[in-house]
Structures are given as C-alpha cells and as structure tokens.
Symmetry: C2
Subunit: 646 residues, 2 copies
C-alpha cells in the first residue's frame, strides 16, 4: 500500500492510494455493498459513477456459514465481483446497533486478511456521544489494545485502525496519536454516525480536528459512516480522504433523494432539482409512478450520481484552490453547518489549519459571507504582519478600501502626502490593514469582495486594524480637510520600490530577509509593458524575481545564498539525506523519504533552501508540504527544485 | 395566449403560459436557436432537456432573401422543425452590437406575425448602461412609440414589448407602466446584457425591481439576454418568468462550462464538478481529447443540462417555499451577487417585496447567513408587531433565544414571574423580539438558526428590539439575581390562552380582531394529545381553528361574520362580481376575472372575507394572491373558498 499526496488546498488534499487491486484518487467515496443483496453491482458502479473502491461487511460474511466458506475459498473480490480495491468493515457498527457481536476481535481481522480484503478494519469499540468520559476512555483503551493485537496478524492487508473517544477532544487526540505509533495503515474516525444523524456538525468538526491533530498525516483518513454529501466538503477541508455511503440505498428505500444541500422526499417534489442521468431521464411524476423496486433502484442511482459529483467538486476545488469557497457555500445550506463553521473559528483550530494553508494560489480569494474573514490565510497574514512587518515612520495615513491595486488607485494622494511628510500609508481593506507596500501581494490584490461588507467582517477587520496600528498616530485620509493636518517632517527620501521589495521579502521569508538581501547596490528591473517589478539585482547578482500573478518573490540561487548566510538553521531549510544530495546537485526535485528535517515555519508553496545534513546549501526550490507532512510521508515529491548550486 | 399563476413564493411564481403551440410552465428557459446553424435541434432539446419553448431571431431570417421566402411560405415552426411555442427576436440586439439595423420597426413585427411566431418582439431601442438620462429617455420614448404602433399589427401573435430606460429607475418604472397600458402580452426587460457581462448585479436587481413595479403582474416577464444560471434564482425571486440562453453555445465555442456557481474553462479542470449525463459519460481528460466540433457539442449539452437543472431547482424551491434560501445560497458563490442582495435590503424594495410574501409556508425558515434577517417575511412581522400588537403591562421581562416553543422551554420561569407580577414576556430571538403569546406563530416556531448568529443579524435584531420595546421598563431575565427585582403588582388574572388567541388574531387579521372575535364567553378546545389550542368558540359559536403547523388561525364562517361586522370595508374583503355570486354561494372558489376589488393589505395565504358589491358576506376563504395580482390576472383561482353562508 502506498499513499502519496498530489495536490492540496487547506488541510484538504488529493492523494493516490495505491493497492494491489488498483489506485484510488482521494478524496473518494466507497459505496457500501451488501454481499447478500446488491442493488447495484460494484462493476456497474464503476461504469456509471467511476467508483474506484467499495466497502463491504466482513462480519455479515463471517456469520453466514455458506458465505464464509465460499469467500474463504474464492476471495472477497470474487464474492462481490469487483477487481478494484475493497475495504471490509468488522462488525463494529453492528455492535453499536445491536448491542454486541459474537466474534473474536482478532479472528475477524484474520478472516478479513484471509478473504483477501485490501483494507481490513479492527473490531473497535464504538464510542457514542452520550458516554461519560470514563466509559469513553475504557472503550478507547480497549480499541487501542485490539489495534495493537490486530496489527500482528494483518499480513499483507492494510489495516484500518479506528479512532474512538466519543466527543472528548483529548481522548480523540490521544487515541489518534497512539494509533499512529503502531503499524496501522488507514485511519477511520469512528463513532460519528449518531452525531450526523442529529446534525451535530459542530461536535463532528471538533472530533475530526482533534483526531487529525494526533494522526500521522501520511496515512489516509476515513470519516466512517459519513455518506451524505452535505458533510463531504467540510470534512475534506479538514483532511478526510475517504467517505463511505450506505445512505444511497437506505435513503432510496425510504423514497428520499440526496442533494448536495440536503435531502428531499420524492413524494414532496413536483420537480427534480437535479441534472443527473436519472433526473434527466425521468420527471418527478414519472419517477413516482415506477414500481417500488425500480423506483428504489433509480433513486439509489441518483443518490450515487449526486454523491460522486460532490467528490468531483471537492477534487476540482482542491485542484484550483477554491476548497474554502466550496465549504462556505455549502455551509449556507444548513444552519447546523454554519454552527460548525463557527467552531472552526476558534483560535486553536485556526492555528492548526494555518499550517496547511498554501502561501499562494492561482485563484482569487472570493468573499462568500462572514465566514471568509476567518480563513486561515487571513489569520496567517495578520499574524505575520504583527511579527514581520515594521512600519517605517511615526505617522500613518489610512485610506479606505478602494480599487486594486491600491497603490495605483491612490497614487496621486500618496505622492501628495509623501512630498510633505514621512508617513506610512495603510489601507483599511475588507481583509484587514494592508500597508501600501504589500498591496500586490497575495491575497490582497487577488481578492474579490462586495462593496458593502457585513458587520461581522467589519468587526473582525476593525479588531485587526486596532491590533496592528495600536491606534497610535493615525490620520484618516477621509477625515482630513487639508494636507496641513499632516505633521510636516520630510527627512528621508523614500524610494517606493525599495520599500515594496523590503516589505514583501520580510513578510514572505521572515524578519531580516530584506536586510540580508538588499545590503548593497540594488538594481530593480521592471516590465516595460506593465511597469511592474520583475527582477532584482543586489550588488550585480540576480537575487529575486517578482511574480506578476501573486506579487510574491521567486528566490534565485544567489538570493538563497544571502538568506542562507543570514538566517540561522533551520529557518527556510529543508534538510536532505546524503543519498539524495547528488540528485539535488543535478537539479532533481526532493522526494519525501529523503527529508531529515525542515523549518517548522515553512508552508506549502513557500520558497525554501535545500541543504545537506551539515547545512550546506545545495539548491533552492518550492516546498509542497509543511514540516509535519514532509517528515511523515514516505512517497511523493515534497520540494520542487528550481535552481541548484553548480 | 393565456397566463395563469399556479404557485408562488416571494415575488417568484410558477405560471402556465398557454399558446396555440402548447403550454410552458414558467420560470423557464428558451434556448436561442440560430436558424442557419443548429448545434442541437429544438426537437432534440425537448427530448434531452425537456425544453418547452425556444427563441430564434426573425431579423436573421428576414435579412436572408431565400430564408425569408421559405419561412413566409412554411412558417417558422417548420423552419426550425419544432412544434412547441417559438418566440422571435426583432434585431434589437443586433442594433446594439452592430450600431444599427436596416429594417422598419413595424415591418419586422408584421414579418414575425406572418411567419407564425407565437411571441414576436418589437424593435425596441437598446438602452446601454452608460447612456445619459436624456439619451436613455429618448430611446425609451422611441421604444414606446414603436410598441404602440406594433400592437396594431400584431394579429394573433402575442407581442413582446421590451422595457427600456438604461439604469434609471424612474425611466424603467415609467416605461413599464406605459407599456402595460397598451395591449402588450409579454414583457422583456431589455438592455441588461452589458450589466451581466460586467457582473453589475446590483444595478440589474434595481432595474428588475423598478420594471416589475410598473408592469402588469398578470403578464410574463422575460429577462432578455440572461442566459447564465448564476442569475436565475435572484431574477426569479423578483418575478422574472422567462430567460433565454445563447450562452450555452457561446460558452461552449469558447471551451467554457457553465455551473450554477459560475463558469469554468474545460482546460483548467482536472475533474468535471457535475453529474449531468455529459459529465457522467466523460472524464475531463476524455472531453479535452474530443475533436473541436464534438467537444463543442458536448459542452453545449452540459451547459443546457445545468441551465435547465437550475430552472428545475427554482420551480422546486417555489413549490416548497424555499426560494429565498436558494437565492441566498447562490449569492454566496459570487461577491457581486452578495452586493445585489444588499440592494434588496433597501426599505423601498422591502416594502415592495413584502406585498408578495405568503403569510405562511409549509417549510421551516432556514437561516443561511446574514441575508436571512432581511427577508420580507421578517420585515412584515416586525412592522405588524409595531402596528398590531399592544403589550398589556408596563413591565417587560426578556428571555434570551432558547429552545422552541419558547413558552414550553421557559414555562417554569414564566409562571414564577406571573405569580408575582403583571409583566409582558418577550423573547429576544434571533429573528427579533417575540412576545411569548406569538411563539408558535409562523415563522418563529418554524425557523432554524445556528446557536451563534453573526454580528450583522445581531445588530439588525437589536434595532428591532429597541424599536419595539422603546427600551422602557425592560428587565432581562439573565441579568436578574432574584425575583425580588420585579415590581410586585399582581392585579390582573392572566389567562395565557386568552392572551395567545388575542395576540395571534390581532397580528393575523389586524388590530381590533380580538375584540371583535372574543366579545363574550370564550371556550377553547385543546388537543388531548398535544395540549395545543385547536378550536375556539365565542358565545357558543365556532369562530376559529388554530393550525398546528403554523400556529395561525383558520377563520370559520361564524368568525368571519364577527370580523365582517366589526371591520370596515375593504378590510379583509375580496369583492366579487354579481355573476360569480351564485357559484360562491354554492361553495365554489373565486376566479381572477370575477374580482372587482380587494383589501390592499391582504397577502397570499391570508384568510379573507368574500363579499358582493354591496359588501354582503358570502363566504370565507384563503387568498392566493395579493390585491394587485387579483385585479390584474384574468385567469386562475385567486381565493380558495372554504365555508359559505347557506
């Protein structure tokens, strides 16, 4: 089994899960197959919905003498006639529904191994949300014990070790950590069905987040029992890779249709609000007239079309960097999902989520409502502003939100001010305070907001503004009658371009970067067409290029030398093993298994210094993962090398 | 041509548009057919997407000698091989694109009539958004002149008279009014394409609203040139009935895919975020590999599947009373749409929108974010609270938002208070102030909010609260330490049920209703199972029933007699013509053409008194439309009679 990350957005990711029965691209959905009664066969699912992996229940097979024998002889792939990867469940959910199951926890794992399951599941103890902490801890400990025993008998089968711990964050995190330390391959987050049934999405989010904190990020995570697409985007943005659906058939049996925004009873619908092949073939009244069996089949198909479409939407959103937008859009469909968004806004979660956020995206940031201001990228920018940006002057003149880029929109006013006095220019933008030097940097120039923002965003922005300015020596341009209100004190000659490259490099690489990079004669080359900064030479050496798309720097090898000299280990570093050094010296990219250490402050898409164990600079490149991820993944590219030392 | 309303939600509506070539259920979309180059034939569209009506361009036919002759001989239905209703455009858009068209305005109308178009369009003067008001007014006047002349030659063809007036609200309203006074049949809102191209949705909304103000509500309204589903829900909630799409093929030619939340370039997509038959048959890479012609065809099909699905979603939302929720959900996909939502929140628009809002719905009100608090139903409730509800006592005790129904949740506390003193009980709910007597009334008990609301909603709610309480004699339960803080003054015996039926009847029927209905001995019958109020007898007569679903009253004929006696004309009345009297006396429902007058304060779903010209009470029923609609529609049921005087 291999699991490698291909693309990412927020804590969500597109990965390849490679088994001997084929490869699955995650996030993905495994339809639940009842071996006794297949409404739609896995083969047909593959054809109709592009299903890559399914899940079936080993306990049901095990309990039936005939079925057990047959499956032990022929294997589970033959039983359900599917040549793709198959996951098996262990009977845990049956124990939750019926109170207990009559099977030995180790025997059922061995059985799953023996029938050739690709991913078998331990018989974990289902922790319900209403348990006391003591009870939940007992269950969690028993789960851990069984996991440790099960690992020993798993053979070649990948073993799914389920995180339990009821609704208690510390139990979830501790369970996740302990499971990650044993040789598990796949981590379901269990015990969540009762939460979903009661739309307790806020609790669900907390459980996912605390489980993820503890889990090895290089292993697939499965939100066990989550089959309604309403929850898929939110779970995916937190890093869930697998979902399973028995909902498609349960809901169909009950005459209910699944939609991305909720559920509808066919009987209540006069129109089918969907364009899937089923809803394109039938009208609502035609569907209602079908005989029960055929109607259930068509509804089940609709439910799977819609569920897999949501998976495709998530993948597409990860690929183009709009996953938060999808999540926020979906949240507006259900007040309980909005409650879950509120949970995400807690400081502890923001801190965790920020680590996975890419430094830049090819896509503009779209405001969707008052959840947008709480995105990790804005949280990061604000933290960095406080830590890495130092205003030059005592006085700050503040302009209101305006057309972008602000430096062009307010060019005349800024000139007037700077001719008269030394003042910082600050935009009180819809994203928070933006020093004018940073106005082309992602996400400021690349954000789309409505003219009028809501009071929630307004209050959040005001808080950031006050924290940044400390309300000292502030002059609001809009409140000014004449320029005479400015303190007249023109001492320094201000070069706007130098201010800009200094501020951006400090924000991007860290405090002190500008000093390290621009110590000497600076030559700035601009685009003739757009007049935008392109290349920067320091003492005759090309140290940086500024990207037109996101206003951030590409670090050249000569710039890397300067930062390497100036910044202490491990700042900006990715440290690689001896074996990989010759390859990187030839300009090859860095793969996960060769990384020994890494700057904990590096974020995906950050420029980084590739060094050997002795901190000798080898090359410069772009990090694709953060530290935790780099150190835990075994497969895949983690730094794209751009330039190496010859 | 007939146009009758079947279902409604907000200012949106499901209507039947009946032509001699068949019936169209609106809101609906007419794909644009190029008679020279049909990518998908209308016949195929009908089969694949359920297309009911198409639009083609008479000017293109007219300009081509051969085509003109052929179509004059065979008719336009044969030309494009479609037996359903066909609308034709006149060349106005060509005049906008190419500067001018070489055709006589009246001749092109006659031509459309002669080729058998079901709906022909006048050659209006396209008003662009950048015009001065003088220029816009000139164009509008010329449009009006042509409309008046065109009406004379329309023959049996329905004539579409396009509203112009650029971005000037008063011009739009005046143009709409004047067009409604001549014999037009169909009202496109024109000149909006440049606004949509620049995503100026806020201007678009204002134009639609002012056009609708002036238009005869009994005629179909067409948002001319609006082909992207992103705008459909918002336009539909304001009362647009028709859309046309040339976008499906234009976008396809350009390699672009239409989605309900925006547009994506196929080349940029690694996954197809959709479940339509095209996206279910092909993967993204398969689509990319198709030859250009086939790719355009498949993209065009996708675009139409998605566009028609949005129409079905709108119809479904109107049918189940969730159109505002769909609109708000969609608005979160695009900051410019959010800006348009802000436009809707202006007092003038709220006043207009309130008139169309149904008194009650079968569906709970879902909070989707900070737009929800601005819905017309909440605006109405708050206005009525100020006008129709009178607190009984000097002191008011306020409880915070809690479980519903509030009277049950806070039962113990309320008893404690009322045992000690005479006080009004008020809930400071997420929807605004709710006197405890109204807690089961729609939409209070029937609303779903997250625990934490945003600051925008909070501020709006606080404003309503202050306006209602005038901050006088308010005691907050949460701030109270002991009951001793209450003024001790127990004078009146309070009967909770009497308070409730009095408050609800005043809110529902108007000030004074409780006095009229409950003057004498009151007998309240409750459900044994739920202990909820069911039937109310006044002096032995059954005057009201309370509905469990929405906590509002059904008016019985004996209650109607009391209100009729007490309320002056035209309060609660629907006045019908002599011819209809015998039918209503037999219990038949009231049809549009028999209504002479109506209470301007009646709202859809309101209980109403059916009277004759002399204000003699005939029956009681439920209004389906408001006054303006009742008086303008010629077809369809407008009051559902429930009980009549024998």
């Amino acid at each position: 089994m291999k699991f490698e990350i291909k693309k990412r957005d927020a804590a969500g990711r597109i990965c390849r899960f490679i088994t001997k029965h084929g490869t699955v691209t995650t996030p993905n959905l495994m339809p639940v197959i009842n071996p006794n009664k297949m409404l739609i066969t896995p083969k047909e699912m593959k054809k109709l919905f592009g299903t890559e992996m399914v899940i079936t229940n080993s306990y049901i097979i095990y309990k039936d003498d005939k079925l057990r024998e047959k499956t032990l002889n022929d294997g589970v792939h033959k039983l359900i006639d599917f040549d793709g990867p198959i996951m098996t469940d262990s009977g845990t959910f049956q124990s939750y529904v019926y109170g207990d199951v009559n099977v030995d926890p180790i025997e059922i794992v061995q059985f799953q191994r023996d029938i050739g399951s690709d991913v078998g599941t331990i018989l974990d103890v289902f922790g319900t949300p209403d348990q006391t902490k003591t009870k939940a801890e007992q269950g969690m400990k028993e789960t851990l014990k069984r996991a440790k025993q099960s690992v020993k008998v798993k053979g070649e089968m990948a073993l799914a070790c389920t995180v339990q711990g009821s609704i208690y964050p510390d139990l979830r995190e501790s369970c996740a950590k302990k499971l990650s330390s044993i040789d598990g391959d796949f981590f379901p987050i269990g015990g969540v069905v009762p939460l979903m049934e009661n739309q307790r999405y806020s609790d669900l989010v907390r459980i996912i987040l605390y489980s993820k904190r503890g889990l090895d990020p290089s292993k697939p995570v499965h939100l066990f029992g989550a089959g309604h697409p309403l929850i898929f985007p939110l779970a995916a943005v937190l890093g869930c890779d697998f979902f399973d659906s028995s909902a498609y058939v349960k809901y169909a049996n009950d005459g209910r249709m699944i939609f991305s925004w909720g559920t509808g009873k066919l009987d209540d619908l006069s129109e089918l609000p969907c364009c899937c092949p089923v809803c394109s073939q039938f009208t609502a009244s035609e569907l209602k007239k079908l005989d029960k069996k055929e109607a259930v089949l068509q509804l089940a198909k609709h439910n799977l079309y819609v569920s897999f479409a949501e998976i495709k939407k998530i993948k597409s959103a990860i690929a183009n960097g709009s996953l938060w937008e999808l999540v926020e859009r979906r949240a507006s469909a259900n007040p309980h999902l909005l409650e879950a968004m509120h949970e995400l806004q807690k400081e502890e979660h923001k801190v965790w989520l920020e680590q996975s956020e890419s430094t830049s995206k090819n896509k503009a940031l779209f405001y969707t409502g008052n959840n947008t201001i709480h995105r990790p990228i804005i949280y990061r920018y604000h933290r960095r502003l406080l830590e890495r940006y130092k205003p030059l002057f005592d006085t700050t003149v503040v302009f209101p939100e305006g057309k972008k880029p602000y430096s062009k929109h307010y060019a005349r006013q800024i000139d007037e001010i700077r001719n008269k006095t030394d003042a910082n220019i600050l935009i009180s933008s819809h994203l928070g305070p933006v020093p004018i030097e940073l106005d082309e940097m992602y996400p400021f120039a690349q954000s789309v907001f409505p003219k009028n923002i809501d009071k929630e965003t307004e209050a959040e922005v005001a808080k950031m503004f006050d924290e940044f300015t400390k309300k000292e020596n502030i002059i609001f341009w809009e409140g000014m009658k004449t320029l005479d209100e400015l303190p007249a004190s023109k001492k320094k000659k201000v070069d706007k371009d130098i201010l800009k490259i200094s501020a951006v490099s400090d924000m991007q690489f860290g405090k002190g970067a500008s000093k390290a990079l621009f110590d000497g004669e600076i030559n700035i080359i601009k685009s003739k067409k757009t007049d935008k900064i392109r290349n920067i030479y320091s003492n005759g050496k090309h140290v940086l290029s500024m990207r037109a798309g996101d206003g951030l720097f590409t670090l050249k090898i000569d710039g890397a030398r300067l930062l390497h000299k100036s910044f202490k280990y491990p700042k900006l570093r990715v440290v690689i093993e001896k074996d990989a050094v010759p390859f990187v010296k030839e300009g090859k990219s860095v793969f996960a298994k060769f990384v020994i250490d890494c700057d904990p402050e590096l974020r995906p898409f950050d420029e980084c210094l590739i060094v050997d164990k002795k901190d000798k600079l080898l090359a410069v490149g772009r990090a694709l993962l953060n530290r935790t991820e780099m150190l835990s993944f075994d497969y895949g590219m983690v730094v794209k090398t751009r330039e190496h030392i010859k």
